[in-house]
Symmetry: D2
Subunit: 424 residues, 4 copies
């Protein structure tokens, strides 16, 4: 195995690590914790995205009560010798796995509408939780029976540090969105309609910020402007792309000297969209990465977002049940080419379908969030309806979930759902 | 081969067919042209979606000048004995192909902003056209050199007739959208910003309507309320799902006695989203379908949109270059979880990338619209950015299009682009 | 579709075709029936391999009584301008299908031990037959219930004409084998042990020979030395490679001026090995081929046998039940690294397994001969046992054939088996 | 990770392990080293098959001088509670990897003709060696440049202990073979023709035997009759099936109380046939297995050899160059349906082809032995020629190895080949 250049201890708090502390904000001045040469391969370890707030137990309130100011705890930054703004950082993922030798637990959560909500929060406002066993690559959950499959492991989050200019741009545009929302909530399409009013964006906050090995005083100032790790942005970041699995090669835009690459938020498996929000099978994990520099790559390849070549390692599935959605809301309102609504409708069709086989809605939601389901932008031009499809692999179920097999309907228990959505 | 129960003549106009005339509107009262028993297999033929307006020539003005009131010309309706509202119509696609024995031409068009535009119409406002040779399953184009691949043939459009009630609902909600747009164009997100102001929806119009074998007088009245075939809706319709290829089984909701199934708009191949609007390789074609009825299927399976099981027949690809987009507009405006914008940005990244290998932007657009590219809703929960990805199969190119292979840059000619966008 | 340059009529006898007669021997002097330029695409049609001796009926004696001196009836020879000995003829398969527009019947036969036998003839000495419906790509048989799948269409037989020198070499070495056999039958390993004593090779015979458009007198002389089409040889010929399906590109060695390419023996589907002898789903069919010449290709690529690049078109399967065999005979005799015996044992294991689900042995044999099963040379070095494996795709069955699903055992009828093996 | 129930130390000799000693013979009386309950998951570790005789260095004489009486060193035996003769032992492979946390070296060897030889020993009589880096799943070798791929990890060897009766049968039939060979070497087809005369089988020998935790005295007696682990047999054993990778489920016949399962000979990757003999990428490794018992499974499933369901985890490849071989020897002798010869000829074609791209023959041999190449029994009925094919995945090369890309020919160095084949 390659040298572990960033090591974590899952038994210690994120800010009390024996080794370097992980970081949870994007800022150009967070000092590099690892130095690497082009061509070098190293192992980087990361805590789960919450830094250990959710355990292998049956308490859904842990999900309800997660402190989201802390997330996500990342390995790095890695300084790659010779990388300069305008370059692409080439990162090859030779291997990934859970910590502690490839066999641990993972968790999936439905977030409470009071605490950020999620894609289907109007339909599932209460926090819920499932715990997954990770046995090699094979995952299963005592809370979601009759589902068992080889996961598609990937880092939810990876990217290089922004420059000061880019950071400023991020803060401006996200601040604008918050202002627009506050001025007129109705002007923001697809924001959940419930009472809870989750935020439309997470602006910088020093609360919960952990600035790696930065000098405390400087860290406090920097945290005021450091970008949250919640959204993906043009550097990559929290893009939650399930296909970025073992064997993939990614080219990340570089904005600062040395690139300052960070990675974390490992998922044992995820469906396209990560629709439960904390929807993948979340875990502490490692990646064995080889880094290299493509000089002037952004200009030469005409890109300013990451590009990647997915690996040849599956799992692969051939048999799917596919669901369709169009951009008409649940209330029957016609939207204009709205792929978000279309995908939500497709997911809801799938949930209703799975309920006919005996799952609860929350269980079905956790299935869709975790299995390697393909969520496609099937049609985006046929005004006024976008068409999105969700293809659910049959092979992840231990029974035949095809149409025509309702004989497989049975009671499948239920998920851990919080009683008290407000946690009061 | 199964009996051809709906036959067309590509040398005759859509309203002068030797056999039954195709229909181009959705209305419950269009009489069935074909009668079928459950379990029966038949061949259904359809003209290309425009009814022959675009030919195998080098004139892009044909695309600019298409009369869109006429589209799409469909085979059927097929009355399936015993099908009743609430059932699902099971349709198995045993085979599909171009007419005239599997080897003809197809076409792809970028629509003029003046005539409906499309997904990237702000970037490509002028009409353009490419002509494709269909040689068995293998497609190639004299206008897009060095691309040649086995297509993923499918019907862009298929579904059962709506009931009167459903039709009314469609007309209401789409009318509402038009009203909202007219009241405040800014209130409709993602509508193209150019001067041309393409419509947000196509409301019923008797102009260009062809009501199959309906009595002329009744047809005239029905055409006033008959739904256009442009958008997909909960019955399926124009959903443009590339994965609905040979070997697939689809379950369509039934709304009227006998189902009145229609099909057409065959594509020799298409990328997810059909992003050039007339973006697939459009052709006249046939489908060999076996029909059956699942009694009370909508309720029993918990669905009110089509579901399907894709076939095992490829083409399959393993090697991709994947592009990412996030919901920030080209102008830098932050949108809230907007998968439409995210997908557009991913497509634009891919176009810029392909330009580095020597294609023009319009050529790149036609590549993305036609090859079996995977457009995924990768992340839909990480506020405020949706993440969409576009995975382009390397195997469709006759050169290595991987990062690291810019030595393959060469002049690749250009597409047929109209000089005069207005056609005046 | 490309021009049909070699057309057949399935309603006429092989020697009474309205167009050019097919040929059924390999000889350099059979004149070309088709002229082609490099880069040209054309359609070539062929009768089924027996020339119509077996029909869509329930009479297994047709298989028992087949006249094998006649086989195989091929399309061509095609003379490709500029092809010379030492070149490789590049043939791209753009499309293939059954005649009469892609939907006809096919047949599978177990040959009688008295008439050539086959791989498992000691176990299944009696002739048997199954008839298959070909519905687009989907095949099924009234004689083998609960099996239905998309086939992997391919030509069993394709190659260029031998030179006089090569022909002579073939005749010599096959004559030697016959002599060795006649001198000492025991010296020929793996020859069936039954009383029937099928031949070890088919030497030239004018009986049943059809020499294409050759002058009758010359034909009679040439037929005395013309090679039978039964075995594959270094030119390709009857290699029965299931993976040579739509989208494949093959490079065939050229031995005579113009290449004189021939093709036929189309199969709607076949498992590796074609273990029932007439084991694929045999049919009349066509191929759309593009031909080109690679000058001096044999030397430049270091090959003197065909090489090919398989296409991307499936069907693809993910789930298999795999069976193992080792080179110990059914009687317990240890063979030395004998992959033939190992594969036979693996096939017998699979047959016994399928019998537990309710099939007869002959049905199971026809399943293994026709579905796209993968027969692998898994181990060939671990003395004294070769290990061969047979991977049977689960997806071809309409029930779950996995271990653990014996609840799916039911009576599945039986195959058409001849009563009187000798036909006397 | 599951509990390590059988642990090895790669720094200690096989007979000086800190934990239980591995065993290298099959005998019913070797006592169980591990006790397991049905449903239990555990980790089993094994030394490389030679027990550490070959190191990460550039000395090919290590391969030449391997002591083959010692091989293969296995983990176990595992006693599974309740398993009885006639049952099937169900073994699910949840994970596998090299020891020491998934990143170590592996080796591939061409055996000297003097020391066992191999499949192509007449063509490559001298011992040779390549060393491979295993970086996560990605393998590459300093001795075989421009090849780099994700391997298909699997145990070369796994199975249950034979009963006394079965053991006796093995010894009898293998002894018979040796006798027949000694009586008349010519009577054994496919035995290498070189002077070295490698054995046709390895009969029991106490030399080098390691009988696990057996009492020394009993061990000495048992070793006289204990079966060598070299060949696969009906219990599985050394079957070298590359598809038995992560996620597979195998059903092994049980012959003794408790099954006494053993496993080892891990390969980071292998091509079908393992044609260099020591041809896979050999390594020390572990498997996480879940064991269960299928009562009376041999009878109920009609099998007496292992069957398995391969996993969904790749790597998967789509693009291949495929080579054909027929059962005519290199000298032009016609064999009767001889798949061994046919496969050898296909492999030789592939080697000659790769040489045109700049590899030496020995390098090409090591490529074919290690990459996930598909070796198929394509045709086994077309007398007198069997047809075997070898499909080499293009994606394992870092350049385009397709026909038409000879511009990629370059000097690629050479393998470590021993100077002195006899080691004298």
């Amino acid at each position: 195995m390659p040298e572990v250049t960033f090591e974590v201890d899952t038994d210690s708090a994120p800010d009390e690590q024996p080794g370097p502390n992980p970081f949870n904000r994007w800022h150009p001045d967070i000092p590099a914790a690892v130095e690497a040469e082009p061509g070098e391969t190293m192992r980087l370890e990361a805590l789960d995205w919450t830094g250990g707030q959710i355990g292998d137990n049956d308490d859904p309130n842990e999900v309800r009560d997660v402190d989201l100011t802390q997330v996500h705890y990342l390995a790095g930054p890695v300084h790659v010798e010779g990388a300069e703004p305008g370059d692409l950082l080439k990162v090859e993922f030779h291997d990934m796995g859970p910590l502690n030798d490839r066999s641990e637990f993972g968790f999936t959560g439905t977030f409470s509408q009071q605490n950020g909500g999620g894609f289907l929060t109007d339909h599932f406002p209460k926090a819920a939780k499932s715990v997954w066993d990770i046995d090699g690559y094979t995952v299963s959950s005592r809370h979601v029976p009759d589902v068992r499959y080889e996961g598609k492991i990937h880092p939810g989050l990876a990217g290089c540090a922004p420059s000061h200019e880019l950071l400023e741009r991020w803060n401006e545009r996200e601040g604008d969105l918050v202002e627009r929302y506050e001025a007129d909530p109705e002007s923001i399409p697809n924001h959940p309609t419930g009472e809870a009013e989750p935020p439309v964006a997470n602006l910088p906050t020093p609360e919960g910020a952990q600035m790696g090995e930065m000098d405390p005083e400087a860290a406090e100032a920097a945290a005021e402007e450091a970008a949250r790790t919640v959204p993906p942005r043009e550097h990559g970041g929290n893009h939650d792309i399930k296909d970025l699995s073992i064997g993939s090669t990614v080219y990340f835009p570089v904005y600062v000297e040395g690139a300052k690459f960070g990675i974390g938020d490992f998922h044992a498996s995820q469906g396209d969209g990560e629709i439960t929000f904390c929807g993948a099978i979340e875990m502490a994990g490692y990646a064995d990465v080889e880094v290299d520099v493509v000089k002037d790559g952004m200009d030469r390849y005409g890109v300013d977002h990451p590009i990647f070549e997915p690996g040849h390692r599956g799992p692969t599935f051939e048999d799917y049940v596919t669901f369709c959605g169009y951009s008409v809301t649940e209330e029957g309102e016609q939207r204009y080419i709205d792929s978000h609504t279309a995908y939500r409708r497709a997911c809801l069709q799938a949930i209703d379908y799975l309920k006919e086989f005996g799952y609860t809605g929350q269980q079905a939601l956790h299935i869709l969030g975790t299995v390697p389901a393909e969520g496609r932008q099937s049609g985006v031009v046929d005004i006024p309806n976008a068409c999105s499809t969700l293809a659910v692999p049959k092979g992840v179920f231990e029974f035949d979930v095809s149409p025509g097999h309702l004989e497989n309907r049975t009671d499948r228990g239920e998920l851990l759902v919080t009683d008290d959505p407000l946690g009061e």
